[in-house]
């Protein structure tokens, strides 16, 4: 069966049975497309995914270009890490939730910090008012971190921390808790998000301007290479780019463009690419368009492998592997008929597993309303366990490979993302592109187009613009007690009163001098947290030396 035979058959099919059917029953729309505007053909064929490209473009799992996955056995060896992002109120409350999740079979921890912590303010700062413990746990000093991980052996769990601007401070506190437990830092496994570039255009928890942020990120990479070798020093995140409204293609493109900027900064600072690139990790979103999402993950892996090999001259296969965490799409959850969200999350989680994710967070059904209750979190975790143990999709690797549609979408997403990367290169790289407002505008355009599609009814959202019902608002919502703020402030005031003030001042001064001299700031931050210097105090030293970023200059 040659290419020409297939072409002839496709034409005959279009002109014959398809034309005849269309004459009587028009299709639901003129054109079917993915969220990125890629056309879904009526039926894809081998013409869209020729077999002779297999070895070059697809290959085998665990081998370059890693389209089918980064490990040779994938989930046949071990399932993905089931890692629910959690944190609220005080360290005491969150510690309880972690123990509950570990009891329920969760295999890794993922820390959500409140906004003051993420922006480097202590709970007693005036800008922290109303925000303490709201979207995550409040951490001011090492004391809070000791409570957060109380009774959890840090050599047994891997911990992901969604922390960016003050990532070095939280990593240092984590290392200090491990030290108290008698666990050496080379045993620690986990991830800090530490991805500042996307903060400037999609997430908003920046402190320093871009250039010094890149410097601190590079310091962390260099420090971890020597001291915490199993730690993922950065989690380059498309998640928030997508939440802000981007398409799947834009998510891949802007994430990899950020990644290129980090690798370039580290190479420029004199690091050998193969010495740090294996510790880079990624974090993606997963939406409802199942085939596009699966193709997105496959395209991202192939594109990154090629970038590392061809652009940065990486030699180690590990440097070329795009390993990633996935979270299902928060923005796809509806406040209307929230139980329907369980179904959305299932589709998204399935896509992430079919796409070869290394770890997964499944959102809870009530997250368009509030922080999730324990019941909701359990259903979300059970969703992953059902996919793992009952669906069978984890038993053969990359089962959608060879699907004409998925291979064609993989090629198209890769090509369109590469176009964006070329455009960003021409602008002088991602920092310049962000300064010019390029990713911001692209994302805002996509977000607005989506809103318009929902409002015109072109995009159906079940329960929102079709299939609505009158419903009472659910009554079992998790509320963070406003008393948390007062409790946390008093706790921190107590720590500040008890600690050795001279040691704190000395440690902060040492950090200041290192920052001014251009040295690696992580060792003096590690020394400072051990004196119980607070996150806000340490962040203030860095603000003082490097300046502060604000939107619109």
């Amino acid at each position: 069966m040659g290419r020409e035979d297939i072409e002839k058959r496709v034409v005959a099919w279009e002109q014959g049975p398809v034309a005849k059917t269309l004459g009587r029953f028009p299709e639901r729309r003129q054109r079917f497309e993915t969220t990125s505007g890629i056309e879904f053909k009526r039926a894809f064929t081998p013409l869209d995914a020729p077999e002779d490209a297999y070895l070059d473009k697809v290959g085998m799992p665990g081998e370059y270009p890693f389209t089918r996955g980064v490990q040779p056995t994938m989930y046949r060896g071990r399932f993905w890490t089931m890692r629910q992002y959690a944190g609220f109120g005080t360290a005491e409350q969150t510690n309880e939730r972690y123990k509950y999740l570990l009891d329920q079979g969760q295999t890794g921890l993922s820390v959500a910090f409140d906004l003051p912590t993420q922006i480097g303010y202590d709970s007693d700062h005036e800008l922290a008012e109303g925000e303490v413990g709201k979207v995550g746990v409040a951490i001011d000093t090492l004391r809070d971190m000791e409570i957060l991980f109380d009774g959890i052996p840090l050599d047994k769990v891997s911990t992901s921390m969604t922390i960016n601007a003050p990532a070095a401070v939280l990593l240092a506190m984590y290392m200090a808790v491990a030290e108290q437990q008698g666990v050496s830092s080379d045993k620690l496994r986990g991830t800090i998000q530490n991805d500042l570039l996307k903060e400037y255009f999609a997430r908003g928890t920046y402190i320093l301007p871009p250039e010094p942020s890149l410097k601190v990120i590079t310091d962390i990479m260099a420090f971890c290479k020597e001291n915490v070798p199993q730690w993922n020093t950065i989690s380059i995140s498309g998640y928030h780019i997508r939440e802000a409204g981007s398409s799947a293609v834009q998510e891949v493109a802007f994430t990899l463009a950020d990644a290129i900027a980090y690798v370039q900064a580290a190479v420029d600072a004199g690091l050998d690419v193969d010495e740090f690139a294996g510790r880079l990790s990624f974090f993606f979103n997963c939406h409802n368009n199942l085939l596009e999402e699966v193709a997105k993950f496959r395209a991202a892996r192939r594109l990154w492998a090629r970038i590392m090999k061809e652009r940065f001259g990486a030699k180690s296969p590990r440097s070329m592997m795009l390993r990633f965490h996935t979270q299902t799409a928060g923005c796809s959850l509806t406040a209307q008929q929230p139980d329907n969200n369980v179904v959305r999350v299932t589709i998204q989680a399935l896509a992430a597993v079919l796409g070869g994710t290394q770890s997964l967070h499944t959102n809870s059904r009530d997250e368009a309303l509030c922080l999730p209750t324990e019941d909701s979190v359990r259903i979300a975790l059970r969703t992953q366990q059902i996919i793992a143990h009952e669906s069978g999709v984890a038993d053969t690797i990359d089962p959608l490979a060879g699907s004409y549609a998925v291979e064609a979408l993989t090629d198209e997403i890769e090509a369109r993302a590469q176009e964006y990367i070329d455009k960003i290169d021409a602008m002088g790289g991602m920092v310049r592109a962000i300064e010019a407002g390029f990713p911001q505008n692209e994302i805002a355009d996509s977000a607005f187009a989506y809103q318009r599609a929902v409002e015109s009814g072109d995009q159906v959202v079940v329960g929102v613009n079709q299939f609505q019902i009158e419903e009472p608002m659910p009554d079992e919502l998790l509320r963070v007690d406003p008393a948390v703020e007062k409790f946390q402030r008093e706790k921190t005031a107590g720590v500040k009163a008890e600690r050795d003030a001279a040691a704190v001042a000395g440690a902060l001064d040492a950090l200041r001098r290192t920052a001014i001299d251009g040295g690696n700031v992580v060792p003096p931050i590690f020394a400072a947290v051990k004196t119980y210097a607070s996150l806000g105090e340490i962040s203030d030293v860095l603000r003082g030396v490097y300046g502060e970023y604000s939107e619109g200059g």
Partner: protein, 131 residues
């Protein structure tokens, strides 16, 4: 009938960085013919009040998804009253529990829009109240 354009300030109080909704609403209002100023993220209530006064707006819309609305929203309302701007139409949006809405209305907010709101509802809400 006056043809003066309705002036709207869309603002993000507090530390929350989720501004997809704020930007979408700003653009929809602009497309509906209003003059819209968007403050950007991480604004204090004081800065928002100052911007509202300086820009002489008819409407202020606040967006918050972090749960700090009960503290931050009323402060903007008080600040505006303190500047003699009692006539400014106030509305809010975000992840806001229904049980918080009566308190926010008492504080001076004419409406709180929740997830899934059609921007046309926001547009007509403003047009009906501002002439």
């Amino acid at each position: 009938m006056s043809q003066k354009k309705i002036r709207v300030l869309i603002a993000k109080p507090g530390l929350d960085g989720h501004d997809r909704g704020a930007k979408v609403v700003a653009r929809a209002l602009r497309d509906a013919g209003m003059e819209v100023i968007y403050t950007g993220i991480r604004q204090t209530p004081e800065k928002i009040v100052a911007a509202a006064v300086q820009e002489d707006v008819d409407v202020v819309g606040l967006s918050c998804l972090s749960g700090a609305h009960n503290v931050l929203f009323p402060r903007v309302a008080e600040g505006l009253r303190g500047q003699g701007k009692d006539d400014v139409l106030l509305f809010g949006g975000g992840i806001i529990p229904v049980e918080d809405i009566p308190g926010l209305k008492e504080a001076g907010f004419a409406e709180i829009f929740l997830p899934g709101t059609d921007t046309n509802d926001v547009i007509s809400f403003i047009q009906e109240r501002v002439d």
